[in-house]
Symmetry: C2
Subunit: 334 residues, 2 copies
């Protein structure tokens, strides 16, 4: 099935508008159609009209449930019964646990020991079985490999998978229906599952739409990859945005290369300022990774770039809200 998904069904990319529409029909009974908020205060501050797509209100507190739900409900019954496994410190893990619970199958989640508390709590709340690993990729992968061997479960990668990309792409279907005047979409980039789904759907619906990625300077592999014309990985990452430390995958890269118009990088203090604005003005608790789109739109590198001068109606994907309140408060006091 994976092989089929990766090689034969789609054309150039791992997903397309029809796999995204299929995903939409498949996950519709399970997901929240998230609202779009707006604020004249933030419009004034940015000098644009902003449309905040509130994926932090998605089940599990992040957009990840769309992809996880599509992947889990795409499995044949005989595959599904043995369960699913992933190694993820964050929102994909909770989302996969919830999707598996809805399908009535086990979810095995390999979690590094330094994962944020509220994200681990989310996994537990949704019935995921936690298997601890050391906080490095080697330990995570070897632990996951052992779980696969022991259980016969299906590994579901957090982003490098056509079913995941298709699920995330359903955000564009909703957003462009809710706010058809949008001429630009800004989304966070980490492994690229979100933005590649979003770009594939949005650019098929309206090829003139600009799709911009927002990335922390301390984990700027996407910006470097775009500049180099090939996937670049980094020896280490350093950012407050714990959800944005992954590197682009071989299935998301072609979409990012071809359909993402630019990568806007921002400093951690800009991310924190954006979180603060979300809390104070929009009244919502957005995690650092989730607030980065607003940070990008308010950044001088975006505002002063003549290429984006006529981006007047901007959809910003607030991708998640899983942040411990104490952490939020501490970061505001810095």
């Amino acid at each position: 099935m994976e092989v089929e998904e990766r090689q034969t069904r789609k054309g150039k990319y791992a997903a397309d508008i029809s796999s995204i529409k299929e995903a939409e029909a498949r996950i519709r009974p399970f997901i929240h159609k998230t609202p779009v908020l707006s604020s004249e205060s933030l419009d004034a501050l940015s000098g644009r009209r902003l449309f905040f797509k509130c994926e932090l209100f998605q089940k599990g507190g992040a957009f990840k449930f769309r992809g996880a739900c599509n992947a889990v409900f795409s499995l044949h019954d005989d595959q599904a019964t043995k369960g699913v496994v992933t190694h993820s410190s964050g929102n994909h893990a909770a989302a996969l646990s919830l999707a598996a619970k809805l399908r009535g199958i086990p979810a095995y989640i390999v979690v590094p020991k330094n994962a944020p508390k509220c994200k681990v709590e989310n996994v537990k709340r949704y019935g995921g079985q936690i298997i601890w690993s050391e906080p490095n990729m080697q330990s995570r992968e070897s632990t996951a490999a052992k779980v696969l061997q022991d259980t016969g479960a299906v590994l579901l990668h957090p982003y490098n998978d056509g079913r995941i990309i298709s699920g995330q792409g359903t955000i564009s279907l909703e957003l462009l229906e809710q706010a058809p005047q949008i001429d630009t979409i800004v989304a966070p980039i980490s492994g690229g599952g979100l933005i590649s789904g979003v770009a594939l759907a949005a650019k098929t619906i309206n090829p003139a739409i600009r799709v911009l990625a927002a990335e922390p300077k301390g984990a700027n592999d996407a910006a470097q990859s775009k500049a180099a014309g090939k996937i670049v990985t980094l020896p280490e990452t350093n950012t407050v945005a714990d959800g944005l430390r992954a590197f682009i995958g071989d299935l998301t890269w072609p979409v990012i290369r071809d359909l993402v118009d630019d990568v806007i990088t921002v400093e951690d203090n800009e991310i924190i300022e954006a979180m603060k604005l979300c809390y104070e003005i929009l009244k919502i608790g957005v995690e650092p990774s989730g607030a980065i789109g607003l940070a990008a739109v308010l950044s001088s590198s975006f505002r002063e770039n003549p290429a984006w001068k006529d981006c007047s109606h901007i959809g910003i994907i607030l991708s998640g809200g899983n942040v411990d309140l104490g952490v939020l408060w501490d970061s505001f006091k810095r």
Copy 2:
């Protein structure tokens, strides 16, 4: 005009379904149609299906903008030019400032010196002119009287006014369109402007709907008034819910007496627990007064009351989100 509003236009009450529908048409260009959120986790916790009407996303961060906007845009031009005045520590002040700004008239706001910082900031942000008073009703009233004399502005009471009540009632029109399956509405009660508008509209649309007020035990004048069959005021109030310390007015009382089915009182710690759930599960920053509806639905006095056993689809009005993050965090740590 006030006299007209109070005595001749309406029947038994200071507002009715037609004044509420007129308000809806008048304020529609200015207000946000706020979304309704739901959460299976909170449904499971409460044993009911809950529909959260997010008035914290209203302009100014609270439902108050509906009433203020209706009142300000109801004024004749010759009345309006001299401006509006109110004495309010909170959300009504910000809402009135914003409504006045939209109409291009001055707003004079008498604010007690102990008002929460973020609420004062909101008044300033919307261009209201702050006039400080001592933190007691006498000083607030005498200061307001002086402003009235000096400016010739119109006094707009935060709740004891048919135009305000009509504006707040537009919430029910939206909510029952967004979630028609609702059989019960729970709203905070302070002076009663919100709940009387909500009850008048909801019970006209569907007389079988239950309308329940949520009130802090430390400011339980509504519960006492309902029990006594007449308006009761208290020598003092003591609650974390700074927006719920006002007493019922003579225009809101008849509606509360006749159309509010019960008053559910809750302890401050239940309010704080509800705020915490709103933050952790719904990902939204609700102020104490705003979270009390959820606190009421989770309280044992509600759950164990056989009269409310068949309240299965409950609309909860999350009335405002103006809370300093530091205060929110401190209250969680108590």
